[in-house]
Amino acid sequence: MERFLVNGLVRLGTLVLAAVLVVGSSRPGEAAVACTTDLADCYLDAATIDSFWYRWAAGLDCELAFIGCARYTIMGI
C-alpha cells in the first residue's frame, strides 16, 4: 500500500512537472518549442515505469534528448 502511494505521488509529480515544462517555457526556450513538447511527452512516458531507478534513468534520458534537440536548434549551424 505504501509503495503504491509513493509510486502514485512520484507519477503525479512527474505529470505536474511535464505540465509546468510546457507552460513555463520562454526564450531561448522559444527556439526549441518542439524540443520542449518532446520533453513533456517523454516525461509522461517515463512516469509509467514501475521501477524507481528505471524511471529515474528514463527521466535522465528525456533530459539528454531534450538538450540534444535544444542545442542543435540553438547552437548548431
Partner: protein, 302 residues
C-alpha cells in the same frame, strides 16, 4: 543656470558616444575546397589547422595558410551515435562526444581510435591546453556549468571558475538557459558564454573575468541569442560574431563581426555578406570565418 553649467560640464567630461567606425574590411577568399552544408557540431583549433565536425560525421580540416578546406568521412562511429562537440589537445588528438556518455578520440586521418565511458553524461566539449573543458549533468542553479579535466581516466576533474548555473521557471528553461558556448582561446584564456547572454567569462579555469559585451547587440542581431561565436587574439583583441536575427535556411548564422578589446570599449563592426557560420582563426588584426556558402572570408582591421 546651475543646471545648464552642470549639463555642459557633463557633456565636456563625458566620453563621446561610440561610433561604429568603418575600419573593418572583408573579402571572400576563393580557396581550395568548400565546407559541406550539414550542421557543424564542433570546432577545434590546433597545430596550424582548424577542425570542424559536422552532423554527417565528416571531419573538415581548414588550413588558413594554404587557403585549403579538406573534407573526409570519419570511420568508426556507430549508426545510433550523434556526435557533439570537438576539442583538440596538444598531442594532436581530436575528441568528441560520440554520445553524452562516450568520449571518442578521432585521429586526424579520420578514424575513431578510442572510446571512453564517462561517469556522468556530458553536454558540451571544448579544450584549453591539455585539459578538456565540458558541461555535464546534473545541470543545477548555482553549480559551475563547466568543468575541466584530463581526457582519460583518472579525469582529475575540477569545476571551471565562472558561469554559475542559472535557474529557470521550468526544467526545460533551466536546461536551455545553461547551454554554453566557448570560443577560440589565446594566451591560456578561454572565452565562454551562455547562449542567451552578452556577457563573456574569460578565464583559465581558476580565475576569470566576466564582462558584458553589449556592443554585440544592435539592429539585425538576435536579442535573445546575441553571440554566435567569439575568439581571443593578440594582446587583448576580442572578435565577436553576432547572431543574425533573420534565419537563413532554418539556422541563424553570424550576420555581423565586431572587433573589440577585453574591456569592450573598442567597437569596430562590419555586416557580413555572406553571413558566417564560425570563426576559424584570429589574430590581432585579422579574423578568418567560414561563410554559409562554405567559403573562407577574411576580415581585417584597417
Amino acid at each position: 543656470m546651475a543646471l545648464l553649467i552642470s549639463l555642459l560640464t557633463a557633456a565636456a567630461l563625458g566620453a563621446p558616444p561610440q561610433a561604429d567606425t568603418p575600419s573593418l574590411h572583408a573579402r571572400v577568399i576563393a580557396g581550395d575546397g568548400r565546407a559541406p552544408e550539414p550542421v557543424i557540431v564542433g570546432r577545434a583549433v590546433c597545430n596550424g589547422s582548424t577542425w570542424l565536425l559536422n552532423q554527417r560525421k565528416e571531419l573538415i580540416a581548414v588550413t588558413i595558410d594554404r587557403r585549403r578546406i579538406a573534407v573526409q568521412a570519419v570511420s568508426g562511429f556507430r549508426p545510433d551515435e550523434t556526435p557533439w562537440g570537438l576539442a583538440c589537445t596538444p598531442d594532436g588528438s581530436l575528441w568528441t562526444l560520440a554520445t553524452p556518455w562516450t568520449l571518442a578520440r578521432i585521429r586526424t586521418e579520420g578514424s575513431i581510435t578510442d572510446r571512453i565511458r564517462l561517469p556522468l553524461p556530458r553536454l558540451a566539449l571544448f579544450a584549453l591546453g591539455d585539459r578538456l573543458v565540458y558541461s555535464e549533468m546534473p545541470v543545477a542553479a548555482g553549480k559551475a556549468v563547466l568543468a575541466a579535466g584530463r581526457a582519460t581516466p583518472p579525469f582529475d576533474q575540477r569545476p571551471w571558475a565562472g558561469l554559475p548555473g542559472r535557474a529557470g521557471s521550468s526544467r526545460a528553461t533551466e536546461l536551455t538557459r545553461n547551454l554554453v558556448g566557448c570560443g577560440i582561446d589565446n594566451g591560456g584564456l578561454l572565452p565562454c558564454w551562455f547562449a542567451d547572454d552578452d556577457r563573456i567569462s574569460i578565464g583559465d579555469g581558476k580565475t576569470e573575468t566576466t564582462r558584458s559585451f553589449a556592443i554585440v547587440r544592435g539592429p539585425g542581431v538576435d536579442p535573445a541569442l546575441p553571440i554566435r561565436d567569439a575568439a581571443l587574439a593578440g594582446r587583448g583583441r576580442v572578435w565577436l560574431l553576432a547572431r543574425a536575427a533573420r534565419a537563413i535556411a532554418g539556422t541563424q548564422p553570424g550576420g555581423r563581426l565586431i572587433a573589440t578589446n577585453r574591456a569592450g570599449t573598442e567597437n569596430r563592426g562590419i555586416d557580413l555578406k555572406p553571413a558566417a557560420r564560425f570563426i576559424l582563426s584570429a589574430t590581432e588584426s585579422s579574423c578568418w570565418l567560414l561563410t554559409v556558402d562554405g567559403t573562407l572570408m577574411e576580415v581585417s582591421v584597417r
